[in-house]
Symmetry: C2
Subunit: 363 residues, 2 copies
């Protein structure tokens, strides 16, 4: 399968909030055509784990992570908009991160990578659009961590985006979600296979990654969805064969988490996961103005669509309301939608019946 | 400090739901005096981790785990009631469990202990009251796992309790809480120090216990409480000294979990924890009647007080409602209280201002 990624090569030092790196690359994909006056560009920042491949294209026809949302005649319509999605700095799908080679040492960065902040990722977005000849974005878009990054973009570059779509995101993390992510990181770090970040290719801290992903999955969905999907259904016999002793897999929910966890172990670099997860904890819009309210009054946005989900306990409804109210107080024309989706935090990836019309109407 | 525990020695085979053990002991404490007609006995089953020491006494003046609720002139008034609290079968505070010596082999049971069910614990409660000369209990009481055990008692021995107090419990576990407990167990089992249950005294699977307890703590409290208590407060410098590298303790919430987790490692036996945790997943009131509704119509209770907490996401409000409605449909005189406590599932141990008057009024 062909690769649709483009790369921005930043030459020399790239200044991050908490350090510097040399000659980083940023991978991105684009869909649609930039208008002559360059006023139809939509920049998408991703959640923690996706690549820049938000949607299929003729170059790379594989299904993207937001396939139902981005494309010709889709809610973010690539017949009308020039859509850019970037792989986050610190990730492992083409952009420079802890798993990349440090050109100054010839070795992987690993833990020598500077502490990552979402502001760093937002700045790479600005570099990408500069290169593409875009002065002002039609919209900046993000869900979950990507929504925080999109918000960071508006705070660092007020007026550079006319519109914001924030889905299941927040102005900062509260201690409950910090605790959950902190524990996920610790599960990886406490795996002897992590080796203080020095694990080799093909020998990741598999147990830690499995445990962390299971905990992640628990926080990404909702109790209500699982009660409806699984109830107290028992796992099929071939899985609960008793091989794992008296505490093995018994319920269907346990076998579901095992399957999802295992598929993640080799799909994401452990150190990259640690850096990106930490960046979500560290982000705080109030760093850009002394308070969330002051910060949110300085985005220069014309309008915003803030979408939250009632069953999302990682970025709960009151944080969506805080974000919407803060932007509104800053004279942004805000549309706030609190959806009834069952799938918790991950609803924006799944519940297209509820997300599609809302996003379609905004675009 | 003197020991206030009594022991019921069950001679010969004790039949459990999924196996048998020989000559088990059950530790219990009592407060107050049994009336001549033996009609004032209150039996308390505990949550997963407490001992039988619910309250101080002249024999053992140390603070009990429900000190504010049990005692002279307290809501469960030991001037009026003869109160019994038993340490659960499978636990490690005097009752026989996986950490006890199997008299048939001379070695610890460890994983040879039969799979534990809450019905087994309920049956030991019945044996204890028989020994004490009690035919019918004034009340059976339990919170969290203890509430499930108390319910199991009424289903196994209909009419043997006139009243039930169930706090923050449920008729069965839903997949969300099963997932959380299953992952806690896996965190212990995946610790190399667990050694398939064969760890030695003084060398517990400390990392697994620490990780499991942190996850437990996250589920026992509420996001709202933590936002109010911790917000984004940073940990004090001596803790976040950077010794643990770029992913160490940064926020106060992380240091809080670390402290609580560490204190648990040597306070509870890992195998006992696994057995009791699993027993909570396995309990299902519908096993006693084909459906929850049918089961709850067969308790023989005269009345019940069902207390839930709005911020409890482990045993959420709808499960409290299900329990209360089911008992009511079975002609039990039910009082249902859904409290506004902030402390989530653990509120019954902390928010005495809200729990005290409700329980006091019922007794």
């Amino acid at each position: 399968m062909a690769d649709a990624r483009h790369y921005l090569k930043i030459e020399g030092q790239f200044e991050m909030v908490r350090g510097n790196i040399t000659d980083p690359s940023i991978a991105y994909e684009t869909w649609g055509t930039l208008s002559e006056v360059a006023d139809n560009a939509v920049l998408i920042f991703t959640g923690l784990s996706p690549s820049a491949h938000a949607a299929s294209s003729t170059t790379d026809p594989s299904t993207g992570w937001w396939e139902d949302m981005v494309g010709p005649s889709k809610p973010i319509d690539t017949n009308r908009y020039f859509v850019i999605c970037i792989n986050s700095l610190g990730s492992c799908f083409g952009s420079t991160g802890p798993a990349s080679i440090n050109s100054e040492t010839g070795d992987k960065y690993r833990l020598d990578f500077p502490v990552l902040c979402l502001e760093d990722i937002a700045r790479t977005g600005q570099r990408v659009i500069e290169k593409l000849g875009i002065d002002v974005l039609h919209s900046v878009v993000g869900s979950s961590m990507g929504g925080m990054t999109a918000l960071a973009f508006t705070l660092l570059f007020p007026g550079k985006a006319r519109r914001l779509l924030s889905a299941s995101s927040a102005a900062r993390s509260e201690p409950f979600s910090i605790a959950l992510r902190s524990l996920q990181r610790e599960l990886i770090r406490k795996d002897a296979g992590w080796k203080d970040g020095l694990y080799e290719d093909g020998a990741p801290p598999a147990t830690g990654m499995l445990m962390a992903r299971k905990l992640g999955m628990i926080t990404y969905r909702s109790a209500k969805e699982w009660e409806q999907r699984f109830g107290r259904e028992r796992a099929t016999d071939d899985i609960s064969s008793g091989k794992s002793g008296p505490f093995g897999i018994d319920f269907e929910i346990e076998s579901y988490l095992e399957a999802h966890g295992k598929s993640f172990i080799n799909a994401f670099d452990a150190n990259c996961y640690l850096y990106l997860s930490r960046a979500m904890d560290l982000f705080d819009a109030s760093d850009h103005g002394g308070s969330i309210a002051t910060a949110l009054s300085r985005t220069g946005l014309e309008s915003a669509l803030v979408i939250g989900v009632k069953t999302d306990f990682l970025f709960p409804p009151h944080q969506q309301e805080e974000l919407a109210a803060g932007l509104k107080a800053g004279n942004v024309d805000v549309e706030f939608q609190l959806l009834d989706s069952l799938q918790g935090h991950d609803s924006f990836l799944i519940d297209m019946d509820r997300f599609r019309p809302v996003i379609s109407a905004y675009f």
